[in-house]
Amino acid sequence: MLDTSHTVEIPEGIELSLPVASPLERILAYMIDAVVQLVILIIIGNVFSLFGNFGAGIFAVLYFLLNWFYAVFFEMFNDGATPGKKAMGILVVNDDGTPVSWAASIVRNLLRFADAFPGFHLFGVTCMFLNSNFKRLGDLAAGTIVIHRKKEVQEVVIKEVKAEAPDVSLLSDEQSAILHFGERIDTLSKDRCNELTDILAPMLKADSSEKRMNKVLAIANWLRGRR
């Protein structure tokens, strides 16, 4: 079954699925970071040009740090995301889902050099497109993965009707499908809603499509805890 997540089993035996970020987002994030770096470079360049050769020396040191540790700094102190990654809603974590470690972050960012070969990131881009978890060489070496930041789930209103318990005990998948139905009922056409609830006809024990839909809504309300 094809899916867009990377599954990690934690010691407690629970499986976490991390939504893997696509190469295109990462390229966009990289572009944003490049612009941010350029702006920083222009600013410090202008400031230190006031100090003559000594300023040039300091500028060279800062340029080195910016070039090599910009990403490490933000990954360590900004929840695994450089400004570009933050803007794209993605972040770096270790393969096992834990926050990215110092060693891993340094390795993956030092290897940007290898990814940039032979000049415009051919190796990194090719590797990213061909790897199943969209890792570039740095990620492969450091054992890190770039994933989507989980968005805060906002409560979606389910139309309130009198709650009713389902006649059949439901598995967790089925419960969440019924809840989803309640939440998304407004985005679906009426015919489509009827089509969906008709599938469940033997469970609902109602004679018309209208009643069936209401029954499913009532179950959704019941599952939401409005008993």
């Binding site: 867009t4 696509s22 987002e25 003559g52 415009f120 990131h121 051919l122 199943s132 599938i199």
Partner: protein, 522 residues
């Protein structure tokens, strides 16, 4: 369309996540996708290139312009693969006439440069819609998350040139130097000949047409780059389309509802079946009038289990002896010596001047101060450190003596003047525990005080014995170990030592530890 046979996890995703799904589809079916691609496109590119190599630029532009058509077989395959049907390359090519030229005119003219082409292709090719219905359908599909579709087109177009320039760079690296010089010279001649130098230079960077070999290799590189990117473009766009439909038509809900329905139906069937069996049994019992014997029913089952056991054992042995468990792998590793010559450059400091120079001077002084400060701090820190002081001043100062060992108080105040006599008296009075503990405590105290045994708070009795063995003479050590043994037996096993043993211990204590005391007193 059967949702049950879908080979990808159905759930509403964000646009970017849908793209990731599309790219994974491309990974999953890479053989077929690239196989179909090359089967369809190799001839249309190579034939004109062989016959008209001087028109290389127009060949590749033409090929690129016709890309929507080349992508159709890929979409055809991907859409079928998603629903578990994997047409072979041959089948895909056979069905090519059915969809290859559908709405070819608008596709290749006014819709060619649309940003969401990858998503919209499915509406034309798979849904077969045209005219107003098509545009209305596309409008519906674009309501959410069509941004990702535009980004897909834009970024992959950008990537085309990134990868192209990389490959050109690599080719240039591998071109022999004198030939490269010759090429540059040709270019220079051309630039000198033509009046608008800059325009020519820019044009030459994008497309060099001075030498035939360069032209042909440029066409091939562009073709390879398009070949690399196109399947990702198709699957990405198709995944976006599928995602939009999943959101709009609640495919995920339909799928789960169908599974639930199946579960209910099966349950119902089972219930009916068991009811039927029950009624049959009842009828059987009533008609025969005898209940079926339990033992008869059970016997064959036991046999079956034992056979299975035998079989299982055999299977296990077979598996263990099989190849997978007896594989030997020899791995070789190569280590490289890197002889790196180090170039040392001496920094030129003469250029410092004015404000910068003075600032640099201040910084230098600060640095030196910092360095000295660090050294001083380190010296102070180390001279204070526990480990060093203990090794420097061993013998001068004793370690802090413990006041309490395994819950027993050990200091001078808690002990009488002649503890052995006192202990013996207590023993005779029947207070065995008090006597024993007093004797033991007194011994420990003497060992710490006059034999400088270094006990620490957390030591156990036997650890103390080991230390005593290594520090004091044999006589005292044997006494202490004997005492410890009786103490442990008494304290933990509640077996008091015999009268004679206790008496001898007390006497020996007096002989060993009491003698120096009068000397100290005098």
């Amino acid at each position: 369309m059967k949702l049950e046979s879908m080979t990808a996890k159905v759930r509403p995703r964000s646009g970017w996540e849908a793209l990731a799904l599309g790219f994974r589809m491309a990974h999953h079916h890479w053989r077929s996708l690239w196989g179909i691609w090359f089967a369809v496109t190799l001839i249309p590119v190579l034939l004109p290139l062989i016959f008209f190599p001087e028109y290389g630029f127009w060949i590749i532009v033409g090929f690129w312009w016709l890309k929507p058509l080349w992508e159709r077989p890929l979409l055809h395959f991907t859409s079928r693969a998603l629903f578990g049907e994997y047409p072979s390359i041959k089948d895909t090519l056979k069905s090519l006439p059915g969809y290859f030229f559908v709405q070819w005119f608008p596709t290749l003219t006014y819709r060619r440069l649309g940003f969401t082409r990858s998503m919209d292709a499915a509406v034309i090719q798979l849904e077969g819609l045209s005219g107003q219905r098509r545009s209305r359908r596309i409008q519906t599909l674009h309501m959410q998350a069509s941004g990702a579709g535009s980004w897909l087109t834009l970024l992959l177009f950008f990537l085309h040139f990134v990868v192209y320039f990389n490959l050109v760079l690599m080719v240039i690296w591998f071109v022999p130097e004198h030939y490269l010089e010759w090429l540059l010279k040709q270019l220079g001649n051309k630039l000198a000949l033509e009046s608008d130098g800059i325009f020519t230079l820019v044009r030459e960077l994008i497309w060099t047409d001075t030498v035939m070999a360069v032209q042909v290799s440029q066409v091939l590189i562009h073709y390879l780059v398009i070949s690399f990117i196109s399947p990702f473009y198709v699957t990405g766009g198709f995944a976006l389309y599928i995602n939009q439909r999943t959101i709009l038509e609640a495919w995920d809900i339909e799928l789960t509802f169908k599974q639930l329905r199946q579960r209910i139906d099966e349950k119902e069937k089972k219930r009916k079946k068991s009811a039927l069996i029950a009624s049959c049994c009842l009828a059987l019992v009533l008609s025969v009038g005898i209940a079926p014997g339990d033992s008869l029913a059970e016997e064959p089952e036991v046999e079956k289990v034992s056979i299975e056991h035998e079989q299982a054992k055999q299977t296990i042995e077979e598996i263990i002896e099989s190849e997978a468990f007896n594989k030997t792998v020899t791995k070789k590793r190569h280590f490289f010596d890197f002889d790196v010559e180090e170039d040392k450059e001496i920094a030129d400091l003469s250029g410092f001047s004015g404000f910068g120079k003075s600032l640099a001077f201040i910084f230098e002084i600060l640095l030196w101060c910092g360095a000295f400060g660090l050294i001083v701090w380190l010296i102070v820190k180390f001279s204070e450190s526990k480990y060093l002081s203990s090794s420097f001043k061993r013998g001068k100062k004793k370690k802090a003596k413990p006041d309490v060992l395994f819950g027993l108080e050990i200091n001078e105040e808690s002990l009488p003047d002649s503890p052995a006599d006192e202990a013996w008296t207590l023993w005779q009075q029947g207070e065995c525990r008090a006597a024993m503990s007093l004797l033991y405590r007194a011994t420990l105290f003497q060992l710490i005080e006059s034999h400088h045994c270094e006990f620490e708070d957390g030591y156990t009795e036997l650890e103390c014995v080991r230390i005593v063995d290594s520090v004091v003479d044999k006589n005292v050590a044997s006494f202490f170990s004997e005492l410890t043994q009786s103490w442990r037996v008494f304290a933990y096993a509640h077996q008091p030592p015999g009268n004679s043993l206790m008496q001898s211990l007390c006497l020996r204590w007096n002989g060993m530890f009491l003698t120096p005391e009068p000397q100290e007193a005098s």
